[in-house]
Structures are given as structure tokens and as C-alpha cells.
Amino acid sequence: MIRLFKVKEKQKQNSLANGGGPPVKKQTAGELRLNKDFSELNLPQTCTIEFPNGKDDLMNFEVSVKPDEGYYKDGKFLFTFQVPPMYPHEPPKVKCKTTVFHPNIDLDGSVCLNVLREDWKPVLNINTIIYGLTHLFTEPNHEDPLNHEAAKLLRDNPDEFESNVRLSMEGGRVGNTWYTRCIENPYD
């Protein structure tokens, strides 16, 4: 085996002399898997996706959800996705950038969605998460609250919950929180 060392020494000098050498930029297995996710991405009608850092950074992207039914109809909610290098061994980090009155999203943008944490599995993909996010808006769930106040209202007084959601989406105050308008002007 030691003969190999000497052989290797010689070969390395050869390859250096020829300006050869291994690639400089490394593409991680996670990035490749993410490419696959995107090439088979099947976005729901209510969603759009943007890549703020251009076509070569797919690890950071934004998804807008614009529900076409339910309490949150016509609102537009922006989510940022940060995909870790160990994807899909680890799930992406997802934050909601639009302040929203929602039982499963807190005012800092943390999202309580099972596939983002306890139920994440490497066989799941970006599509799964996006569908999960749209589901949060059509079926807000008061049993897994992150915003306690919103959850309580949804359970005890759905009518008031609905009017609070409308108020918040139009850019108003609910409780102690001011919300930024997230309904696009239909005349724009």
C-alpha cells in the first residue's frame, strides 16, 4: 500500500503542473435535493414563489399565500423559507413576515405546523409545506394555539373572530396590536 503514496506524490505534481484540480465550489446534497423539489413543484393556485437572491440561491426563498376562501380570503401573506444545509434531514425554517391574527401563527411570525417540526420526514418536500401553509388559512385550528387570544375567539365566538380577522387584514387594531393592511386594492 505504501507504494501508493509515492505514486500519488508523483501524480499530484503532474496534475498541479497541468493546472488541473478538483472543483472549487461545492454543491451540497441538500441543494441538489432542493433542485429536485423545485423541478417538480406544483404550486396551489393561491400561491406564488419568489427567489430574492436570484436563480442560484434556492436555499432562501419566499412564498406568498393568497387564500381564495375562508376567513382569510383576499389577504396576502408572505412566508420566508430558509433551507438548512442538512436538508432534507432537517426541515426548512419558515417564518410568516405578514403580521396576522391567526391561532396558529404568532405575532413574531412563528408558525405552528406539524410538518415544520415534529412530523417532518426526509421524504416530505417543499410542496408538502406549502400545502400545509395554505391549509392553515382555510382551516385555522384552535386546538393547537400559538396566538392564544385568536384561538380562544375562534372557538368561543367565530363571528367576532371573523370580524377581527377582516379588521386586521384591512389594516386596523385588534387588541393591543396594529396590523398592516394585507388586502390588495382590487382597482390596482
Binding site: 500500500m1 501508493l4 509515492k6 501524480q11 461545492k26 451540497t28 417538480e40 434556492l58 434531514h89
Partner: protein, 449 residues
């Protein structure tokens, strides 16, 4: 008579392995003093990590006769390391681990030269890693292992029959411990499974539902994760939590205590906070010693051929009694990191669009609607529409130019393939070689292809 007065050699024990033949030796083992001397002169070993495993590894390798060792570690010594990282003393706290470890071993083992590198593994240029004959890993994270594995596998070249070229194989020996459990494995890229082939071996991290943390905490860990994941963002809007900043850790601990008091939950301590937030499992000195010894021995076996190597994954369990088992894992033949990929020869004039069409008819691929990426650059993406639009203009350009005019390189494609009448999506590695370019053929043979 003269034989009996010869002074005992320092390499007496090593000589028993290296100067005699045996029944279990490797295929190209040539016993003799020359082997022993060459090993010391030529073999260059890189130890990645100078912590619990790294200290043991450096000592073991130096005492096994290796004289040219490098060690790389980005950490500084902490007081909690001192119980097991035996090369460090109280006065070393705060100093770089790699530097102190190298110095201490050189003080004790004469003739050994250890070069420390106090930096992140990603900070080194890729060719740095190619200077070593064997890379020995004493790491505590999947991420770092995955990185070194991808670097080592990037040196691997295959011949036209998809057989790995022996001189491009960069052997790795990987050790790992968690409490009383550990593993040692030998990775020969192209021959044995690489780290990525068997990544599924690692259990997923336990993650608690955010709503449990926010509403119904039941354990001390829930309280700590509440402070770490929810409360931190609430109070420090925008500022990232740094697990290595003691002030941040103290803040999380204090908040976790408040949370635990509110819900009447016992058990929040500072060390548990560190454990939960940084995913720390208590380290046991003897486990490190056992695993490192196995790794050092495998390194010697690979370098000398004095014995067949471990095939290929040893697990050690000292939790109750003692259990050691060796399992031979198999390679993933389609592994994106260590696999050969599909060899494709192309004219330099072939456009990206034509190339994508070619993949559809290629008998080994039959890949339709392919998206193509090269060294982290997305040359063409079929979906989503926004990416398709950004990459569409590349379709009419020659692939050779898009690949920065490299004569041969790896690219990755994703698309759908039909198998037994069923459409499945797949991700494949391709080895693209351009033919008939002036000067290119010369370079190719110089590379030894």
C-alpha cells in the same frame, strides 16, 4: 551474540505488525523495514477535530508511528473539556484546541510533526484536503461529516468502465461517540458506502411542536425550548440567537426558569439548557478512547496494508455490559456524492436545449423535462415558472460555455423517467466529457483518463 545486545526499538510493537506477513494481511502488503520507514516518511494524515476524539486520535496516531500529522479544529478550549480532553490544562482554557493539542503531543512523542490549523473546515481550499493520504474524523456533527465526505468524494475519478481509479480514492476513517455508545467506520469512496449513502442511519432530531411549547409545556426541555425559540424572538426582534454566546445562553436559562415556575415544572438547570439548545449529549472519556483506538488502528491498516480493514461499520455499546458489532453496509449505486454517475460524451457545440433533448433518448437515463445544474449554478430549471423564466435564455447557449469551458465535469439533472409504465421523478449525476476541442484531449490524458 550481537543480536541480543541491540537496544529495544521504539517501534518494537509496530514491527510485529509491519515486518512479518500473516493470514489476514491486505492484498498489497509488503512487510519489511522499508515499509515501516516509508510509512513514517510519506504518509500524511489529517485529523479533523481536536476535541474528545481528536486528542485521543492524535496521541494514538503519533504512538503508531505516523510522523506527518495535521489537525484542524475551530474551537477554543473550555473548562468543561478538561475531564476528558487530556492534552489540555486549566491554563489552556481559551486557547485554540488544535494548537495546544499539536504542541502537547509533539512534546511527548519525539520525531512527530503535527501542524495545527485553527479554522473552520470550510475555510480551507479544497486542494488542501487532497494533500493527505488518509483523513481521520473525530467530529460531533452530521453536517461537518457530510462536508468532509463531499470534499473527499470530489477527488474520486472513475474510468470509462465506471470503476473507481485507485489513486483518486481518498480513504476516511470516521469515529463518533454519544455517551456510552460509539461507532468507527472506514470509508473508501467508490468502494465502500460513503457518508451520504447511509445518511438515513442518523435518527431525526426530536423537535417539539411549537404550540406545545407555547401553550402546554410539560417538561423542563419544553420550557427551555420555549425561551429559546419563541421568547427570544419576541424580545430580541431580528437578533439571531448565538448558542456559543454565554450571555445568550444565560438569558434563555433565566427565561426557562421563569416559565418552569409558572407551570410548576421542576428540573431546569443551566447545563440542561445548554444540552437542549445545543443538542449536547454527555461525553464519556472511555468511549472516546475505545473508538479512537479503533480508528487509529484502521488508519494504520489502510496505510500499511498490514491487515484487511474493518468492513465497514463498527458499533460499540457500553450502556449495559458491552456489545460490539461490525456491519457491512452497502453502497448506494446511484449516490450523488460517491457514485460514478452516467458518462456522457458531447460535442462542444451542443446547446443546453439539445443536451436536454439528448437525455430523453439516452438509454441509461430516458429522462424527460430535465432541469440542469452545474457546481451550484442552475443552468435550466423547468419549474417553477419564475425560475424557468430566469434560466430560459441559457437554452440556446452551448453547454460547454455554460460549464465555464471545463473539458470534463460533473453536472446534476432532475426530471421524470418512465419505469414499468410508471412515471417517477429522479435526480441523477452525469459525468460530461467534451470531445474534439483543441488542447482538451491533451489535458484529458495528462489527467490519466
Amino acid at each position: 551474540m550481537a543480536d541480543f545486545v541491540a537496544p529495544p526499538s521504539r517501534s518494537r510493537d509496530l514491527d510485529k505488525l509491519l515486518l512479518r506477513t500473516g493470514n489476514l494481511v491486505g492484498s498489497n502488503f509488503e512487510p519489511g523495514a522499508e515499509l515501516r520507514d516509508d510509512l513514517q516518511e510519506y504518509a500524511r494524515i489529517l485529523v479533523v477535530g481536536a476535541g474528545g476524539l481528536g486528542c485521543e486520535l492524535l496521541k494514538d496516531l503519533a504512538l503508531s508511528g505516523f510522523k506527518n500529522i495535521d489537525v484542524i479544529d475551530m474551537d477554543r478550549i473550555e473548562v468543561t473539556n478538561l475531564n476528558r480532553q487530556f492534552l489540555f490544562r486549566v491554563e489552556d482554557v481559551g486557547k485554540p484546541k488544535a494548537e495546544v493539542a499539536a504542541k502537547r503531543v509533539m512534546e511527548r512523542v519525539s520525531g512527530v510533526n503535527i501542524v495545527p490549523h485553527f479554522c473552520r473546515i470550510e475555510d480551507k481550499e479544497i486542494p488542501f484536503y487532497n494533500d493527505f493520504n488518509i483523513i481521520v474524523l473525530g467530529l460531533d456533527s452530521i453536517e461537518a461529516r457530510s462536508y468532509i465526505n463531499s470534499v473527499a468524494c470530489s477527488f474520486l475519478e472513475y474510468d470509462s468502465d465506471d470503476k473507481p481509479r485507485e489513486e483518486t480514492i481518498k480513504p476516511m476513517v470516521d469515529g463518533g461517540t454519544e455517551g456510552f455508545k460509539g461507532h468507527a467506520r472506514v470509508i473508501m469512496p467508490g468502494v465502500t458506502p460513503c457518508f451520504e449513502c447511509t445518511i438515513w442511519l442518523f435518527p431525526p432530531q426530536v423537535k417539539f411542536p411549537l404550540c406545545t411549547l407555547a401553550e402546554t409545556p410539560r417538561t423542563a426541555a419544553h420550557c427551555i425550548e420555549y425561551a429559546h425559540l419563541i421568547k427570544w424572538d419576541e424580545v430580541h426582534s431580528g437578533k439571531a440567537f448565538d448558542p456559543d454566546d454565554p450571555e445568550h445562553m444565560k438569558w434563555v436559562y433565566d427565561e426557562a426558569i421563569k416559565r418552569a415556575e409558572l407551570f410548576g415544572i421542576p428540573g431546569v438547570t443551566y447545563s440542561l439548557t445548554q444540552g437542549v439548545v445545543k443538542n449536547i449529549i454527555p461525553a464519556i472519556a472511555s468511549t472516546n478512547a475505545i473508538i479512537s483506538a479503533a480508528c487509529a488502528l484502521e488508519t494504520l491498516k489502510i496505510a500499511s496494508g498490514c491487515s484487511k480493514t474493518l468492513a465497514n461499520y463498527l458499533t460499540y455499546n457500553g450502556v449495559a455490559g458491552l456489545h460490539i458489532k461490525v456491519t457491512e453496509f452497502v453502497k448506494d449505486k446511484d449516490c450523488l456524492v460517491c457514485g460514478p454517475g452516467v458518462l456522457i460524451e458531447l460535442d462542444a457545440s451542443v446547446t443546453l436545449e439539445k443536451f436536454i433533448n439528448l437525455l430523453e433518448d439516452h438509454p441509461k437515463l430516458l429522462l424527460s423535462k430535465a432541469s440542469v445544474s452545474h457546481r451550484g449554478k442552475n443552468l435550466y430549471m423547468q419549474a417553477p415558472p419564475v425560475l424557468e423564466e430566469m434560466t430560459r435564455s441559457n437554452l440556446s447557449l452551448p453547454l460547454y460555455e455554460l460549464m465555464d469551458k471545463v473539458a470534463k465535469d460533473t453536472i446534476h439533472v432532475t426530471g421524470t423517467t418512465s419505469k414499468d409504465g410508471k412515471k417517477t421523478s429522479c435526480l441523477r449525476k452525469l459525468r460530461v466529457v467534451f470531445k474534439a476541442i483543441d488542447g482538451v484531449t491533451d489535458m484529458d490524458t495528462a489527467g490519466g483518463a
